[in-house]
Every structure is written in structure tokens, then in C-alpha cells.
Symmetry: C2
Subunit: 168 residues, 2 copies
DNA sequence: TTGGAAAGTCAATAAAGCTGACATATAATT
DNA sequence: AATTATATGTCAGCTTTATTGACTTTCCAA
């Protein structure tokens, strides 16, 4: 179909009314509500919230990640994260190990109990994501991902594609 | 089990690894961070937060909407919304008018100052959405919207397509 | 050896939500 | 007319999640 240039869209004009954009904005709002609804329900019972979910998610994703790494990813302050992390460690869901090469660093890992919670939360979220993908179809998924990537802040885009574990 | 049906995707199998789903989940997380970043920055200076933004957005979208309507849309409690609404009314950004047909109801409208704030916030958000749409291309937009719709809770899906103004 | 980075902590504060209880005005029903 | 239900508003108290600022301990690196 492409008869020319490498740039896929640079020669296509998108006419977007404010109304269309508003619909996109609201769709994002309502979809995010749905996106977080299941984990929120699960966490509501326990003494945990969305902040704990995010920490557990990213520690699971990048075992051994340092506190500083996590701070950058979550975009919160040291003190905020520390409170969350402290309860998770106290409750035996997260383990903090002193760095071997740089002993100032703490490397974070999920314990078996932590991994279990992570599984419970992400199972729910994956189920919804899977259902949405199924309903929308394969091509929709590609488009979905493309728009989301474009909507991120550039430095976050990097983090979302590859999460580094230790030093810069 | 009909092997051919009107459903567009029922006969297509989507093989989604947990890894692919996790990427989608994270993309949603980071994209939402970006999505709210600009309004957050604008609101940071003033005495307002995301809650005020949401109220102003939906009052602008559906002028004359009642408090109860707004409660349903935002999914918060009366007390939470009321605190936000009270400051907006005190500051002269929102006007509350006693219902003509049902005098128990209060119908909410933006004042000129309220409309101005709304414009400032949504301009920023629309700009980002427009940029994302442009980067991702027209077909991506369709897919993006389809997945978001599928990800919402069903009752919210209804609200996102048509926001009713007064009584049921 | 000195400077700075990584992590942790304490205190004070704020935004935004929650529950529960209660009041007022008004509509609807009996 | 009396009762019940609804829409709104408000008070008090609590929780979670965030903030800023100040400070300490540990430890790497110049």
C-alpha cells in the first residue's frame, strides 16, 4: 500500500476537532478508572493502596532494582516511596539487600509472599487488558500501543521499554 | 458455537503472552502520567488539584448538570465532591442554580472565569492528545479508542458517549 | 581526606478521598 | 394532610498518598 517514503504519517493530515479530542481525553479518563478498578478492589481489604501496587509491580518487573531507580520510575519523592517500601519490608513482601558492588545501594526483591500478591494483582489487571484486547481486535492493539507511547513523556518512554537494574 | 458470526473478531485468536500484557499495563501507567502532567503543572500554582480539574471539565462538557449526575460520573462521595465544588463556587468559577422543575436539584454552570480555566487546562491536554494522535497516525487512533472503550466499566462506557443533563 | 551520592528518617503540611451523622428543602406517595 | 423519599449541604474524624525541609549514616570516588 505504501508507495513511497519511510515516514508513515508525515504526509497525512489529521483533521481533529476539539470534540474528537475531548472524546479521547474522556475515554482516557474512564478507561483508567476501569484499568485500576480491579487491583483497587483487591487492595481495599488489605492495608495497602495503589502506591504499594506500583512498587510491587516494578520490583517484580525488575528484581534487584535500586531505590533510586524506583524513584525515577514512579516519579515520587524519596520520603513517599520510603513509607510504602518500609511497610512492604516490615510485612515481609519485599526484601532489601545491600549492594555488593556499591554498598550504599539497596537492591529490592519480592519475597514469595510479595510475588504472590503481585500475581494476584496483575492477574486481575491482565484479565481486563486481555479482554479489552480481545474485544478490540489485533489491529486495535497496535494502534492503542502507538498512541500510548506517543502520549508519554519522552524519558518515561525510554523507561517503559527497558528498565535498567543498576547504575547509569 | 457458530463458526461464522457477525462479531468481527470472534474467529481470530489473539495469542497474548503475559509479557505483552504487562507491556500494555505499563504503557497505560506511563501514558496516564503524561496525560495528566500538563494540567497538573498548571494547577500546581493555584490552590486547585486534579479533583477541581475533573469537576470543571465535566461541568463544561454538560452545563447544567446536577450534583448527583456529577457524583455518578466522577465516582466519588458527596462530601468529597462538595468540598471541591464549594471552593469553585466561592472563587466564582462555578455557578449553582436551583432547578426550575425540581427545586431540590442544583444545576452547575461555569462562569466566564471558570470557562477560562477550563480552556487553559484542556488546551494543554488537547495539545498533547493531538500530538500523540499525529505521531501515531489515523488508524492508530481508531484502535486506541476501541481498546479504551473495551477497558472501561460498562456503565462508564455509557456515560462517556452521552452525558445526560437532568433527571432520568 | 574531603565531597558528594544513596538511602533512611523525622516533622510538618496538604490534597483528596472515605464513613457516619445530621439538617434542610422539596417532591412524591399514601 | 401526613409521611416518606430524594437532592443537597455540612460537620467531624479518619486514611492514603503525596509534598518540602532538615538531618544522619554509610560509603564511593576524586
Amino acid at each position: 500500500m505504501s508507495d513511497r517514503s519511510p515516514a508513515q504519517h508525515s504526509d497525512m493530515l489529521l483533521f481533529l476537532t476539539d470534540e474528537q479530542l475531548r472524546q479521547g481525553i474522556e475515554a482516557m479518563f474512564f478507561a483508567y478508572q476501569g484499568f485500576t478498578a480491579d487491583p483497587d478492589r483487591i487492595l481495599a481489604g488489605m492495608a495497602y493502596g495503589r502506591a504499594h501496587h506500583r512498587a510491587v509491580h516494578f520490583i517484580n518487573r525488575a528484581p534487584g532494582t535500586t531505590v533510586n531507580n524506583l524513584l525515577g520510575i514512579l516519579g515520587v519523592t524519596k520520603q513517599s516511596l520510603n513509607r510504602v517500601l518500609r511497610t512492604l519490608i516490615e510485612d515481609g513482601l519485599v526484601e532489601s539487600k545491600v549492594g555488593r558492588v556499591d554498598k550504599r545501594e539497596r537492591h529490592l526483591f519480592l519475597t514469595e509472599a510479595g510475588a504472590e500478591l503481585e500475581r494476584k494483582l496483575s492477574d486481575a489487571q491482565r484479565a481486563r487488558m486481555r479482554a479489552a484486547y480481545r474485544d478490540a481486535g489485533p489491529e486495535a492493539v497496535t494502534g492503542f500501543r502507538a498512541v500510548l507511547e506517543a502520549m508519554m513523556d519522552p524519558n518515561m518512554r525510554r523507561k517503559s521499554s527497558a528498565l535498567k537494574e543498576s547504575s547509569t
